[in-house]
Amino acid sequence: MNPERGFARWSHRALLLALAAAFVLPFLWLISASLQPEGKALGRGLFAFPDGVHLENYPTALQIMGDPKVLIFNTVVLTLACVLGQLFCCSLAGYAFARLRFRGRDTLFLLVLATMMLPPQVLAIPQFLLFKEFGLIDTFGPLILPTVLGGAPFFIFLFRQYFLTIPHELAEAARMDGCGFFATYWKVMLPLARPVVGTVAVFTFLATWNDFWAPLIYLNSEDKQTLTLALATFNQTYRIAVEWLMAGTAVVLAPCVLVYFLSQKFFLRGVRLSAGKG
């Protein structure tokens, strides 16, 4: 990029910092609330500790959540499987919708959009009955299978929209070089779509990591619990143990943030590569 002039540069930084403050405040409060004594997390200001700092909320929260080794292992396995499944299914479908000609394509694409609009709350019970017929209750199947087969319509949409922005000439060139449909997709188009691959991977990673509803419904055994499901322990009928919930959230969130932050390097390199080629 071009070097910026002083004023533009500083106003840009100032605006960013102001926005960052608005976004980071709630997290500061999260940390602050996680250090309050039992029952005091709400109704206290930011980093005001008239009753002292209660670091012991962290070990308490962890202890209540269960065996961390099991929780982390399950969550990581589940998350990776879902990310791979989602990328596999959605990039293929998105590519077909964007770049291949076949009868009924537009109708079918509308169908993809339509599946996005079905309220999940009402499909949940029929889906549950279906997975029960397949004998998959209390396995990871109901959580992973729908990503490998099916995928999220939003990601298919995202891939399609992105593939559409890539000029035709590149694919034509590949075709001239003798690439088949799959080779064009795999060797030319997918590398160009790295920003979207990264985006979808991050979205799926975080969505799976944070999903609480599906594990709650489908998993029963202790050895199949996930981190986020364990977090829900703090949510009671008449009282949410806010201080423990915040401590637990901080712990569950930390690796997530770290992975996301570190993955950006890889993610950015992909972006530069594709920008250079484009």
Binding site: L42, G45, F102, P119, V122, Q161, L245
Partner: protein, 737 residues
């Protein structure tokens, strides 16, 4: 007796009891585990599997799913207001024969009022209490003493009224009033009112009930000595807790636990003030055995253990509620000398006058419906007490008629649902056969076959996991079914379900609220996301950190979001109002004032635009720098470059975010579910929330499906409109040909 045979059989073969119980209290779970282990020790060969999400939120839904799916479940718990619904669906084991056959059973060990709540019309007993609570009044004694006031013994409405008046001053109120049906009931009963007349019709429009509501209406609106709790969200921090109300109630025992952390003032509990007659309501949960249990005798024994001394004392000790076992309630475990409140005995003293609300099947729906009407009157002042009572009575009677009508409807054959569930797979097979039979020109055929291979994983999943369930839900939308039963218990309603939408005021409210929200949230989110993406779309140090930061809020769970937001939007100590105060503006009561509740949700939605921002960013980074450069050389300013170069280049992603934004706005569920439960009135009852309530709380999965398809049609129409218009403003570099 048959049950004795059961014991003999159970003793021989190893059995597993599946237990799903969700107590109010945190430490109830270890207590439950303890009882389970002791039960295993006393019954060799028996394993008690306490489902691990038992103390998690959503255990309620989990129970529904397990019962609907016919998954074995041996012991669970239900709320006493749900008993009639469970009985109507015949999904509980009648435990009376087991009690009769049990030589150790003595009903006098328990409070008779409490056991009566768990009996059916034949007075058969269906379970044992976990803990219960009558509704009482909480008192801020420090505040009253400061004002030179005290609660007289056996106080009347007049004395209560006088105390409220004298305790009110700037930023301090006499009463923080709870507004759902159970706490409103005592006022109505005390004035001689009743819920149902002798014909089983709603009698809330009778003068006695109207007068009671008018009394409260006067306290809130004319004299302004009482402030109602705006809604029953899960994250509460009210006036009383902040030391700004002399009284809080009517409310149950559970608050004593929440108030343990109060250090700033002394508080206690007193009986409700009395009027023409003494009365209060009881809330209770009890342990019971679902009909799907494979070991009812063992399950009964486990229920006995749960209702036994050890568990009851432990529940009392940790503060879960009032134990139903008299011995435990009389023990120091419950009375807790030296720990606030001083007067735990009040919860026992008021028992003789305590009653349950009339138990009707699907009471939950009546409760929700009346709550919204009473909030319209007492909280929002939109209706007069007489109007509110008349509307409640009319709506309730309407509802009772509908329930009676439902029982006359024919059953749907169960195979129909099985067929619907499999229809997706059948459609897939049909489509494939159809595609294979036609033979178009050669080159096109190769491309077409490739396309179908690319689409295969999606199509398979769509057919298997989506088409079938969608067909079932479509069928359900034309029938009525309780998720407590197998699908074969569904009854055919036909288009009546859709006709009902036209007369359903709650549905119309929720459409209005949702549309208003979408109208503001969707465009503002797009602007915010694009703005952030543009700020980040250049190279500078710390850019990754900023991007991570802006994305972070989207990954917080709704509960955490809700708690954070509850704090930020607090009327008095919240961040927003503090900031506004710095600017000299007095901020509104965001979550309590009905005209500010939608702006609050819109604000929250702006805070979670991270995903849309990432999508834009991915698009911006693919805009070739050469394009920007060319425009710059042509002398285009920053705004013109944005308008003529950047926006057209990312317009496909703009379309994506717009469509996704509309869909997300119309499906907004988790935030209102956690934060407001739809209140105040219906002002945050978004469509998806109402749909969820119908399906999972009111057990009307059929009507919930009807609502879902109505929601689907609304969103579909909007999306098609957007897509139709998009040909004018979306530019594709590699457009489909």
């Amino acid at each position: 007796m048959a049950s004795l045979l059961f014991v003999a059989a159970a003793a021989q073969e190893p059995a597993e009891l599946k237990v799903l119980i969700h107590e109010r209290h945190f430490y109830a779970f270890p207590a439950l585990e303890q009882v389970a282990r002791e039960f295993e020790a006393a019954h060799p060969g028996v394993r008690v599997h306490v489902l691990s999400s038992a103390s998690a939120a959503g255990a309620h839904e989990k129970t529904r799913f397990m019962l609907a799916g016919g998954i074995p479940l041996d012991v669970t718990w239900i709320d006493v207001t749900e008993l009639a619904a469970y009985l109507a669906e015949d999904v509980l084991v009648d435990l009376q024969p087991y009690f009769d056959a049990d030589p150790g059973w003595n009903p006098d060990d328990y409070f008779p009022q409490v056991l009566d709540g768990m009996r059916d019309a034949r007075r058969h007993l269906y379970g044992l209490p976990s803990t219960f609570t009558p509704y009482v009044m909480y008192v801020n004694e420090t505040l009253l003493a400061r004002e030179g006031l005290a609660v007289p013994p056996d106080w009347s409405w007049e004395q209560f009224h006088e105390l409220c008046r004298r305790a009110t001053r700037e930023n301090q109120w006499g009463l923080e009033l709870t507004l759902w049906l159970q706490p409103l009931a005592p006022w109505i009963w005390q004035n001689g009112g009743r819920f149902l007349d002798e014909h089983g019709r709603c009698a809330l429009d009778e003068p006695a009930a109207v007068e009671a509501i008018a009394f409260l209406h006067r306290l809130v609106h004319q004299e302004q000595v009482a402030r109602p709790v705006p809604f029953e969200g899960q994250i509460q921090f009210g006036l009383f807790q902040a030391g700004k109300a002399a009284f809080y109630g009517p409310v149950g025992y559970w608050e004593t636990y929440r108030f343990q952390s109060i250090r700033e003032f002394e508080w206690d509990v007193v009986p409700l003030p009395r009027h023409k007659e003494a009365a209060t309501a009881i809330a209770m949960r009890f342990y019971c055995v679902p009909a799907v249990s494979r070991h009812p005798q063992l399950a009964y024994q486990f229920v006995r253990a749960l209702g036994g001394d050890a568990m009851q004392r432990e529940l009392a000790r940790i503060g879960n509620g009032v134990p139903g076992l008299k011995r435990a309630a009389a023990s120091a475990d419950f009375l807790k000398p030296g720990v606030a409140p001083e007067s735990e005995h009040v919860f026992l003293d008021v028992l003789p006058a305590a009653r349950f609300l009339p138990v009707l099947s699907n009471w939950k729906e009546i409760e929700e419906l009346t709550k919204a009407e009473f909030q319209d009157c007492l909280l929002l002042g939109k209706t007069s007490p007489a109007e509110a009572c008349a509307r409640v009575a009319a709506a309730t009677n309407d509802f009772l008629d509908r329930e009676a009508d439902l029982r006359r409807r024919p059953f749907l054959p169960g195979w129909l649902f099985a067929a619907a569930l499999c229809s997706g797979a059948a459609a897939l097979a049909g489509a494939l056969l159809g595609a294979l039979r036609r033979r178009p020109a050669r080159l096109a055929a190769r491309e077409e076959r490739a396309a179908w291979l690319f689409l295969a994983p999606w199509a398979a999943g769509c057919a298997l996991f989506l088409a079938g369930p969608a067909a079932v839900s479509l069928l359900l939308s034309l029938s009525e079914w309780s998720p407590l039963r197998p699908l074969s218990a569904a009854r055919w309603m036909g288009l009546d379900q859709y006709r009902r939408l036209a007369g359903d005021a709650t549905f119309q409210d929720s459409v209005r609220v949702t549309a208003q929200y979408a109208l503001f949230a969707v465009p503002l989110q797009l602007i915010a996301a694009l703005g952030l993406a543009l700020l980040l779309n250049r190279r500078f140090r710390g850019r990754n950190a900023f991007r991570t930061l802006f994305y972070l809020p989207t990954i917080l769970s709704p509960v955490v979001l809700g708690a954070v937001w509850r704090w930020m939007l607090d009327a008095d100590d919240g961040l927003f109002n503090d900031a506004l105060a710095c600017a000299g503006v007095r901020g509104p009561d965001w979550l309590g004032d009905p005209s500010w509740i939608l702006p609050a949700f819109v604000l929250l939605s702006l805070w979670t635009v991270g995903a849309q921002m990432l999508v834009f960013l991915a698009g911006l980074q693919a805009v070739p720098p050469s394009l920007q450069e060319a425009a710059r050389i042509d002398g285009a300013g920053a705004w013109r470059r944005l308008w003529h170069v950047t926006l057209p280049a990312i317009s496909p992603l703009l379309l994506l975010n717009l469509v996704a934004g509309i869909i997300n706005a119309f499906q907004l569920f988790a935030q209102p579910y956690v934060m407001t439960q739809g209140g105040p009135g219906n002002e945050s009852r978004f469509l998806a929330l109402y749909l969820y309530e119908q399906g999972f709380r009111f057990l009307r999965m059929g009507y919930a499906s009807t609502l879902a398809w109505a929601l689907f049609l609304i969103v579909l129409a909007l999306t098609l409109l957007v897509l139709r218009s998009s040909t004018r403003w979306v530019h594709y570099a590699g457009a489909p040909r």
